[in-house]
């Protein structure tokens, strides 16, 4: 057991550290400012071109075939440099690699990894939130195309996406979880309209909803077979809970570093409770860092609910960091531009996105603890 870098890992770390001196775009933390989302695509491409994104994906689709540890090194170094986190597209990549045919992988995954093409995920609907399998969007075959109709919400990055991984019902008569299929839908067609949803902290570039009224998708863009949609959704959501994919550690650590700097500048004004809340946020981010490292050395059946444990832990880190931000926001001298209030308000979303904390607890109880479905 050795948590330290191997010689290769260390060389990679130093190369990235050096690159960041010149190439850190100096953006605010994601999710607290529209400036981040306006330049997220550029940041993704710049990271990829320099060889610092897509570390763990196969080289056959544009990745670097490296162990998971390289993902964490990227997170650590981005955080240490105060750079924005890496793009959080790992869950889509994982889903396409797991369920897509060879031709489909070759067609879509390289652009997704390189950031040349932007993606969003069309899962949730107004009447299908936690109960995702009750979704009503339909896809009907018409020649060599499917025609899709429905309404999707909570769609991150809908505004600048080129493609959408969309779930739609292909067999209305089948059982709830069986008649769903997954498609790769071109966002650039008149039948797909997107409207931003403004988050409570004011950010408008991150989040949106889709109105799909007769969008056409070639049958070649079906992921897996008809009816595989639910399995694909579960793969996607499981890896959406994976701290490796998300790079959230980097975001939290950057926020804590910025909080420490803000409080240090006004050190005399911080109460003991405020100092301790900040130290607790640091402890939580450090827990997440070493937790991700520990998970790298383990192999788990993804259906066992271990991902839900990680998601809950990640949510509690976000909450601790958010509460420390709230302390700074309440004290006017720390928050001239409202950054900390924005950061705090955004932190409330982590216990909802990617499956609510309540859903995660159901999964842990049923799958990991074997307590049986609640009646």
């Amino acid at each position: 057991m050795d948590y330290r870098d191997s010689a290769d890992e260390l060389e990679f770390r130093h190369r990235l550290r050096k690159w960041l001196v010149e190439n850190n775009p100096g953006l605010p933390a994601a999710s607290t400012d529209d400036a981040y989302w306006r330049r997220a695509a550029q940041w993704h491409r710049s990271l990829y071109q320099a060889g610092f994104f897509g570390m763990r994906w196969p080289s056959s689709v544009g990745g670097f075939d490296l162990p998971d540890s390289y993902e964490l090194i990227v997170d650590e170094e981005l955080a240490a440099a105060g750079a924005p986190p890496k793009p959080g597209d790992g869950y889509l990549i994982h889903a396409l690699l797991t369920h897509g045919g060879e031709e489909l992988k070759q067609r879509f995954v390289p652009g997704l990894i390189s950031g040349q093409q932007r993606w969003c995920q069309g899962f949730s609907e107004p009447e299908a939130g936690s109960d995702l399998a009750s979704l009503r969007t339909t896809a009907v075959v018409d020649g060599d195309e499917y025609v899709i109709r429905g309404h999707k919400v909570w769609t991150s990055h809908s505004e600048d996406a080129d493609w959408c991984l969309v779930l739609a019902r292909t067999e209305p008569q089948a059982a709830k979880h069986k008649g769903i299929s997954a498609f790769i839908m071109d966002m650039h067609q008149p039948a797909v309209q997107q409207r931003p949803l403004q988050l409570m902290n004011g950010v408008a570039n991150e989040f949106g909803q889709l109105f799909i009224d007769g969008a056409r998708v070639p049958v070649d863009n079906l992921v897996g077979a008809p009816g595989d949609g639910w399995a694909i959704a579960m793969t996607t959501l499981n890896s959406e809970r994976d701290p490796r994919s998300l790079g959230f550690f980097a975001r939290y650590r950057k926020l804590v570093l910025d909080q420490v700097a803000a409080m240090s500048r006004h050190g005399g004004h911080a109460s003991r409770r405020e100092r301790e809340n900040l130290a607790w946020a640091f402890v939580q981010t450090e827990m997440l860092r070493v937790h991700v490292q520990r998970r790298m050395g383990e192999r788990h059946d993804p259906d066992l609910g271990v991902g839900s444990v990680d998601k809950l832990l990640m949510t509690w880190v976000e909450e601790a960091v958010g509460h420390a931000a709230c302390d700074l926001a309440r004290s006017g001298s720390f928050d001239g531009d409202g950054t900390w209030l924005s950061s705090y308000l955004y932190s409330r979303s982590q216990s909802v996105m990617g499956g609510t904390s309540e859903i995660q607890k159901n999964l842990i109880a049923n799958r990991l603890l074997g307590l049986g479905a609640a009646g």
Binding site: M1, D2, Y3, R4, D5, S6, L10, R13, P67, I73, E76, E77, A80, R253, V256, L257, V260, A261, M263, S264, G267, A270, R272, R275, E276, L278, A279, W280, F282, V283, Q284, E286, M287, V290, H291, Q293, R294, R295, M296, G297, E298, S308, V309, L312, L313, E358, Q360, K361, N362, I364, A365, N366, L368, L369, G370, L371, G372, A373, A374, G375
Partner: protein, 349 residues
């Protein structure tokens, strides 16, 4: 970066787990079974666990990872023969350059608040202090100020009792009791801090084991206890409470394992930081997990006969040893604000 256990560590886990599961107290009544306790003590002696970090016990001193493995399993199975005391005493002797001979001093004495090694009077008498994890006839190591550092000394332990933790006894060294300086055994202030860090790693792992044990007890109970014609574990309110405990135990396990590894692998200030952070986290979540376990048991959970309070008591005692979470949190806050470059100093290399 390799964070999995080695084959030897997996084997150590298996051997110690077998022993502790077989001979640890499986019920509150079993705590007073002296035959079981004697067999457990013999089993621990036979495996040589107390010599883990004693350089006269074998060719190599085991690393913090092995210390963490054993401590966690002992916490999980409520092992009620001394381990923490002898291990920290061995570390203290090793740093003072006097090696083994556990008969000389079976444990350590801490200041009354339990933060670190007791510092006694230069005239060779004790100030009030607490010997941890003791058995009958224990003697405890403490410090006498000497120049820039300390001389090691040993004192008789009296008044052996179990005020909080029913699995590990404490004893007293009263004010004015004579203490015997050990010739040639000196510790620097950084050695003394090192002893505390080793103690922290051991109690953190113990906390993780004990909270995990409480959680498993409650989960097993939720699967058999029926109300309204179904097991209580099928109710969502119960499920969510237990699911939260799973995540807390997992987070604690990760942070404790890193601290155990860092103990010997990283420089002193980094291993110290790792241990502090682990103590803050585990102390913060340990009591909560045990309280959930008591709640899941309902009425029976509030009785003497339910093992849940034995876990809680063990967690409360471990939380107090080698600095509480609050002490370390305040210290960490001060360090971060004084020197925020230390935030980034621990990654890589």
């Amino acid at each position: 970066m390799k964070t999995e256990f080695t084959a030897e560590q997996v084997e150590l886990t298996r051997v110690v787990e077998n022993l502790a599961q077989k001979l640890g107290p499986a019920s509150v009544d079993a705590l007073s079974d002296e035959r079981r306790r004697a067999a457990l003590r013999d089993g621990i002696d036979a495996v040589g666990i107390l010599d883990l970090r004693n350089d006269e016990g074998g060719p190599d001193v085991a690393s913090g990872v092995e210390l963490g493995i054993v401590s966690q399993i002992f916490g999980r199975h409520l092992v009620d023969v001394p381990f923490l005391g002898p291990v920290v005493a061995a570390e203290t002797r090793r740093l003072a350059g006097i090696g083994g001979d556990a008969a000389e001093s079976s444990t350590v004495a801490l200041d009354p608040a339990g933060r670190g090694l007791a510092v006694w009077e230069p005239d060779g008498t004790a100030s009030p202090s607490m010997a941890i994890d003791v058995d009958a006839g224990a003697t405890a190591l403490g410090l006498i100020p000497s120049g820039e550092g300390y001389q090691l000394a040993v004192a008789e332990v009296i008044d052996i009792h179990r005020p909080v933790d029913l699995t590990r006894a404490v004893g007293s060294i009263p004010a004015g009791a004579p203490v015997r300086p050990i010739v040639g055994a000196y510790l620097s202030p950084s050695d003394v801090e090192r002893v505390s860090v080793v103690g922290q790693v051991a109690v953190v792992s113990d906390l993780i084991g004990a909270m995990g044990g409480a959680h498993e007890l409650a989960t097993d109970y939720a699967k058999i206890r029926k109300q309204y014609g179904r097991t209580i574990g099928s109710f969502q309110a119960v499920q969510h409470a237990l699911a939260e405990s799973v995540a807390l135990v997992e987070g604690a396990t990760s942070i404790g394992r890193y601290a155990a590894w860092a103990l010997d692998a990283l420089e002193n200030d980094q291993s110290r930081r790792g241990a502090h952070i682990a103590k803050i986290y585990t102390a913060g979540v340990g009591r909560r997990v045990c309280e959930t376990a008591i709640q899941i048991h309902g009425g029976i959970g509030n009785t003497w006969d339910c093992l849940a309070h034995i876990y809680l008591r063990r967690v409360l005692h471990s939380t107090e040893l080698f600095g509480t979470g609050e002490v370390h949190l305040e210290k960490l806050a001060q360090e971060l604000l004084l020197d925020n470059t230390s935030l980034t100093g621990q990654v890589g290399v």
